[in-house]
């Protein structure tokens, strides 16, 4: 479904990604783990088109997307929940969701019958968002913001969801809920590329995983296998 080939991404002269190849099959949860500064977020931003690779190609469902602008890539069916959630603080919860549905709503109006079902789905998944509908995004707690960020990304009905450290800074009870949500979304057919610091939980959940170190993929394989590989245990699972 998604194929990254020979990707090199720079920030000015700093080479953040030094030639990576990644693929994600339809229906999979693939996780990308690695220490701070390994280039995980950079990889997601490159897929979304915010950053551009110097070489190589990115194809999504057989179509080259690496020259497209970010909003075109969203329209193709790739949605990202970026690191730090990036809720619009001065838009209401409802308006944040409306922006998520930007590619799906009609030109003038943000409401439509077709979309109503999508709002209902998100509200059903995260009832707290319904309660907070009229509140400013910036006034939500960290956990609520994470739910809003995921709900917002789902509003465009993506085929592939990119999640960047969804559990960061959340209390254990929220982390559990977020991982459960990821699992449920996947069970309903959504393909997911997950970046996580919480390597143990991510590898347990994922079908396959990649390990990144300073801009390169150093290991890849089935989630369960990585979970039991001695070097991974030592470096990322603290055993």
């Amino acid at each position: 479904m998604l194929l990254l080939k020979d990707i090199y991404t720079f920030y000015g002269h700093i080479e953040a990604i030094k030639g990576i190849d990644i693929y994600v099959n339809k229906g999979e949860i693939v996780c990308l783990i690695g220490s701070n500064g390994a280039g995980k977020s950079t990889a997601l931003m490159t897929i979304s088109g915010v950053l551009k690779s110097k070489t190589g190609s990115i194809t999504f469902e057989g179509e080259e997307i690496h020259r497209m602008l970010p909003h075109r890539i969203v329209a193709k069916g790739i949605s990202q929940v970026p690191e730090g959630r990036r809720i619009f603080p001065k838009l209401t919860v409802r308006e944040n969701l409306e922006m998520g549905a930007y590619t799906k709503s009609s030109k003038l109006r943000v409401k439509s019958e077709k979309l109503k079902r999508q709002y209902d789905k998100v509200y059903e998944m995260f009832p707290v968002l319904k309660e907070r509908e009229k509140q400013m995004g910036g006034t939500l707690s960290g956990g609520e913001q994470q739910m809003l960020a995921i709900g917002r990304a789902l509003m465009s009905k993506p085929k592939l969801l990119l999640l960047d450290e969804p559990s960061l800074g959340l209390a254990p009870i929220f982390v559990g809920k977020i991982f459960k949500t990821i699992k449920e979304l996947n069970a309903k057919g959504l393909t997911i590329l997950l970046v996580e610091q919480n390597a143990r939980a991510a590898l347990k959940l994922a079908h396959r995983g990649y390990v990144m170190e300073s801009g390169r993929i150093v290991k890849e394989g089935e989630g369960k296998k990585l979970l039991h590989a001695p070097d991974i245990k030592r470096a990322y699972l603290g055993e």
């Binding site: 979304s48 915010v50 602008l69 970010p70 909003h71 969203v74 329209a75 949605s79 990202q80 970026p82 990036r86 619009f88 603080p89 001065k90 838009l91 308006e95 409306e98 922006m99 998520g100 930007y102 590619t103 709503s105 009609s106 030109k107 003038l108 109006r109 943000v110 917002r152 990304a153 465009s156």
Partner: protein, 296 residues
Amino acid sequence: MFFQQILNGVTVGGVYALIALGYTMVYGILELINFAHGEIYMIGAYLGIIFIGIFTVIGLTQYSIPLAILLSFILSALFCSAYGFTIEKLAYKPLRKAPRLSPLISAIGVSIFLQNYVMLTQGATDKVFPHILETTKIEFFNLTITTLQVFIIITSLLLTGLLHLYVMKTKTGKAMRAVAQDKVMASLLGINIDRIISVTFIIGSGLAAVAGMMVAMYYGLVNYSIGYIAGIKAFAAAVLGGIGSIPGAMLGGFILGIVESLAASYLSSEYKDAYAFVILIIILLIKPRGLLGKSQ
């Protein structure tokens, strides 16, 4: 006398408010002070004169003067929107990733270019707005207001109100607010940033054109340099009200117009253009983010 000056101030203030909206919208989205915005206002005034001239030649003014004026407003706004759109694409968009100072200097360059372009094509002397509309005076309690003043005040209030509704309620308006808060995130949700920025310039320039033509009708004279002072004052109004805020731009515009008008009649009219900045400095000392500016 006092209330008469307030009335006059509100009229000029409405014009400042309309220009200030363009500054505040562009600043809200790009953090750019669009120095060329005053020139768009000036071009709007010239276009108003040109279109009224054309309509006089083809005889439309003999058929219906209000229709001719309305059409001139619309055409002038459309042309200025095209100017604003083009300026953004040519002078600001290529510099979007450059250091903050670069688009600012580009803006000053565009401003100087447009002044000279109008001076060369329209001449350096004042142009007269044809006196086709008889304005009647309305008198009440010792106060006099002309129908033109009423028209200016109502138009500026109405357009500001419509813009506010547009930004608060429509899909594109909400996207404008989203882009102003976080461009990368907006693009990750499928919002075409370039389109939103273009819409911002188109709307702001159209409003400036309306302001320009109203001023041309009010004072009867225009000159290629009127955009400079009006632009700086409207910018002061935007800062006064809280830059980035639409109601703030309106409030700032009216306060500035009233203060200027009162000070000119009670203190000295020689310093008329300086009062705007005195009041700006005083308010910024008390509220650094402007009257309706967001505290952070």
